[in-house]
C-alpha cells in the first residue's frame, strides 16, 4: 500500500540545491551536537584511563583532588602499614607517597602562562602506573634537581623539552627524560623526586598516598577501616573512581552546554526543513491529488512526505557526523576545573555518540516534516487536482 521509497528519494534529488542547502543547515547543528559530546567523552576517557581499578588513592577527607589534599607523614606511615598494600617482586611495598603542586609556566606558542601539575614521585610511582613509560632520556637521580616531563608538556610548554630547564620552587630543574602516558592525564604532568620537591616548595605533608591492592576485592574493608580510624582524617577511593569524579563536573558542563546550544540551533534547522517541506508539498499538489485519486490512502501520502523529510535529516546527520569525525584528529587542551591544571585531550567519537547524533538529525527531519506531511495528506482531492 505504500508509495515507493524511490518517489521520496528522487524528489529530493530533483530539487538537489534546496536539499543540499537544507541538509547543510541540519549538518551544522549535528556537527555541533556531535562535537560537544565527543569533547565531553574525550575528557572523560582521558581522565578515567588515567586510573586503574586495583589502585587506591588516599587523600584528605573532603578534598576533591590531590591538589587540595594533605596527608602528613604520620598518617602516611599508618596507611603504609595496612595489610591490603601489595608488595612488588623485590618485596618492597607498591605504595607511593606523592606530592602534587601546581606551577605556572609559559606555553611555547603563545608565551602565555598556564597551570601545570608537578608530581613528586616515589620509586613505586612508576610501578603503580604501567601505562606510563619513559620514552626518551632517563629517570631523575634521587637527591638532584632533575625532572621528567609528560610528552604533552614537552611539546606545549617552554622549557619542557629534554635537556631544557624549568624554573620553579626557586630552583632550576633540568628535564632529563620524557615519558609517554598515552591519552591519560599524566601526559600533562611533570614528575620529580618527592623529597626534593617537598623541600623546594616547603611542604611538610604529602598530597596523597597511592598503592596497589594485594587483593582487588579488599577495597571495601580497607576503606571502612581507614576511614573509621580516629588517627586518620582521610578518604580512600579507587583510582578509576577518583579520576572519573574529576572529569564529571567538566564533562557534565560540556554536555549540558552542548545540548542546550544544539537544541536552540536545531530550532532554526527544523524551521528550515519545515519551509523546504511546505514548499515541496505546495509544488506537488497535483501529484498528491493524483496519487489520492489513484487510490493511495492518506496515510501513504503522509508516510511518503515524512519519509522524504527523514531522508533529508539523515543526509544532514551523515554530513554533520563525517565533519565531526575529522575533529578526532585535533588535540585540545583546557583547564581541568577540578585541579586547575592544563589537561590535553582529543575529541572522541563513540558508537553511542554516533547513533545519538543520527537519531537527533532524523528527529529534526521528522519534526520539520510532519506538519507539511499532514497538510499533504489532508488535501481535498478535487481541489488538489483542479490546481493544475
Amino acid at each position: 500500500m505504500a508509495i515507493p521509497f524511490s518517489y521520496s528519494l528522487r524528489n529530493l534529488w530533483t530539487r538537489r540545491l534546496t536539499t543540499v542547502l537544507t541538509a547543510s543547515g541540519m549538518a551544522l547543528v549535528v556537527f555541533v551536537f556531535a562535537a560537544t559530546l565527543m569533547l565531553a567523552e574525550g575528557l572523560r576517557k582521558t581522565l578515567v584511563e588515567t586510573g586503574s581499578y586495583d589502585n587506591v588513592v588516599v587523600i584528605r577527607k573532603s578534598a576533591n583532588s590531590e591538589v587540595q589534599s594533605g596527608v602528613d607523614r604520620a598518617q602516611a606511615s599508618i596507611i603504609e602499614s595496612q595489610p591490603e598494600v601489595a608488595r612488588g617482586t623485590d618485596g618492597r611495598l607498591l605504595l607511593a607517597k606523592e606530592l602534587v603542586v601546581l606551577i605556572n609556566i609559559p606555553k611555547r606558542e603563545s608565551n602565555k602562562p598556564a597551570n601545570v601539575v608537578i608530581r613528586g614521585i616515589s620509586p613505586a610511582s612508576l610501578l603503580l602506573r604501567p601505562q606510563v613509560r619513559l620514552s626518551e632520556g632517563r629517570m631523575p637521580r634521587p637527591g638532584s634537581a632533575e625532572v621528567i616531563a609528560g610528552k604533552s608538556i614537552a611539546r606545549r610548554f617552554k622549557g619542557g623539552g629534554i635537556g631544557e630547564t624549568l624554573r620553579f620552587g626557586m630552583r632550576d630543574w633540568t628535564v632529563v627524560g620524557i615519558f609517554d602516558a598515552g591519552t591519560t592525564g599524566f601526559s600533562s604532568e611533570i614528575w620529580g623526586d618527592v623529597d626534593q620537591l617537598m623541600q623546594a616548595f616547603r611542604r611538610p605533608a604529602y598530597s596523597s598516598v597511592s598503592f596497589k591492592l594485594q587483593d582487588v576485592t579488599a577495597f571495601d574493608q580497607f576503606k571502612k577501616r581507614v576511614e573509621g580510624d580516629p588517627r586518620l582524617t582521610v578518604e580512600a577511593k579507587r583510582e578509576t573512581r577518583y579520576y572519573e569524579d574529576q572529569s564529571e563536573a567538566m564533562a557534565k558542563f560540556l554536555r549540558i552546554m552542548g545540548i542546550t546550544l544544539t537544541v536552540i540551533f536545531s530550532l532554526g534547522a527544523v524551521i528550515g526543513a519545515m519551509i523546504t517541506m511546505y514548499a515541496a508539498v505546495a509544488n506537488r499538489v497535483v501529484e498528491i491529488g493524483t496519487l489520492r485519486a489513484l487510490g493511495f490512502q492518506k496515510m501513504s501520502i503522509l508516510a511518503a512526505f515524512v519519509m522524504e523529510s527523514l531522508l533529508l535529516g539523515l543526509l544532514g546527520g551523515v554530513a554533520g557526523l563525517s565533519g565531526a569525525s575529522f575533529m578526532q584528529l585535533i588535540t585540545i587542551s583546557t583547564m581541568n576545573w577540578q585541579t586547575f591544571s592544563e589537561l590535553a585531550f582529543s575529541f572522541t567519537l563513540t558508537l553511542d555518540i554516533l547513533w545519538k547524533s543520527l537519531l537527533f538529525s532524523v528527529g529534526m527531519g521528522f519534526v520539520g516534516g510532519v506538519l507539511p506531511a499532514f497538510r499533504a495528506a489532508r488535501m481535498n482531492i478535487v481541489e488538489a487536482l483542479r490546481s493544475s
Binding site: 497535483v286 496519487l291 489520492r292 485519486a293 489513484l294 487510490g295 490512502q297 492518506k298 482531492i381
Partner: protein, 242 residues
C-alpha cells in the same frame, strides 16, 4: 433495463444533487440527476464551463461526495462508502485520464504505470508483466525507462492511459483527455480510447469541450446549469440512449 448497446448498466445514478457553498451562498451544481451508463459504453459529457460536468465525473469516480442521491457502480453504492473504503474502491475500479496527464515527474513511464498495481496484491513479476502489456497496448514499449519530461504530450497521455487500464478497472473516467494536445496527438488518443471500448470492452466516461472528441463517443449527454439533457437539447429521460 437495456441501453444503447443492449448491455446491463454498470453505472446507475439516481436523484443525484450537489451544491457548493461560497460564503453564505449555496450554489447548486447538479440537480436531481438520474441516468444509467451501460457496460462497455463510450459516453461524452458536454456542456459549457460551470455546467457541472466535471463535478458529475468526479462523483462517479468517487473523489467527491454527493449531497443527495445514490451512485451505484457495478452494483456497489459508492455514496455509502467511507473515505478509506472509497480510496480502496477507486484503486480497484476506476482508471483516471487527466487533461494534463498528471504523471509523477520523478518516476519513469514504467513506474508511473506500475503505481496502481502497488495497491493490489500482485507480485513484482506479475506487476512487470501487467505494466509491459499496458505499455505495449499504448505503443510505448520502447519508452519504458523514459521520464515524463523526456516524452511528448501525446506520449505522456498514452502513458497515462496505460496507467488507467493496467489494473483492469470497471470504468475509465477522462477529463478533457485531448484538451492539452495538438490535432494529430488528440486524434491518436481518441483512436486509442475507441480501441479500448471496441476491443477490450472498457467503459469510458469522458468530459470534453472538443466536438471531435465527442464524435468518437457513442453517446453524448449535455449538461446545462446542472440539468442533464440528450443530444437534441431535450431533458433526458432516465434511461440513456432511448
Amino acid at each position: 433495463m437495456g441501453m444503447g448497446n443492449g448491455k446491463p448498466p454498470i453505472v446507475e445514478i439516481a436523484h443525484l444533487s450537489k451544491s457548493y457553498r461560497r460564503g453564505s451562498q449555496t450554489i447548486p451544481v447538479l440537480e436531481d440527476i438520474t441516468f444509467d451508463i451501460a457496460d462497455g459504453e463510450f459516453l461524452a459529457l458536454m456542456g459549457p464551463s460551470g455546467s457541472g460536468k466535471s463535478t458529475l465525473l468526479n462523483l462517479i469516480a468517487g473523489i467527491d461526495k454527493a449531497d443527495e442521491g445514490t451512485i451505484r457502480v457495478g452494483g456497489v453504492d459508492i455514496t455509502s462508502l467511507s473515505e478509506r473504503e472509497l480510496a480502496a474502491w477507486r484503486a480497484a475500479n476506476v482508471g483516471f485520464i487527466f487533461q494534463f496527464y498528471n504523471l509523477m515527474p520523478v518516476l519513469t513511464a514504467f513506474e508511473n504505470v506500475e503505481l496502481p498495481l502497488l495497491l493490489t496484491g500482485l507480485s513484482r513479476n506479475e506487476r512487470r508483466e501487467h505494466v509491459e502489456l499496458a505499455l505495449q497496448l499504448v505503443g510505448l514499449s520502447d519508452r519504458v525507462d523514459h521520464y515524463p519530461a523526456q516524452l511528448s504530450g501525446g506520449q505522456q497521455q498514452r502513458v497515462a492511459i496505460a496507467r488507467a487500464v493496467v489494473s483492469d478497472p470497471a470504468i475509465l473516467v477522462a477529463d478533457e483527455p485531448t484538451g492539452d494536445l495538438d490535432r494529430v496527438s488528440a486524434g491518436e488518443i481518441l483512436q486509442l480510447m475507441d480501441r479500448l471500448v471496441r476491443e477490450f470492452d472498457k467503459t469510458i466516461i469522458m468530459v470534453t469541450h472538443d466536438p471531435r472528441a465527442a464524435e468518437k463517443a457513442r453517446i453524448i449527454r449535455h449538461l446545462e446549469k446542472g440539468i442533464l439533457t440528450d443530444s437534441d437539447g431535450q431533458p433526458a429521460s432516465p434511461v440513456a440512449g432511448s
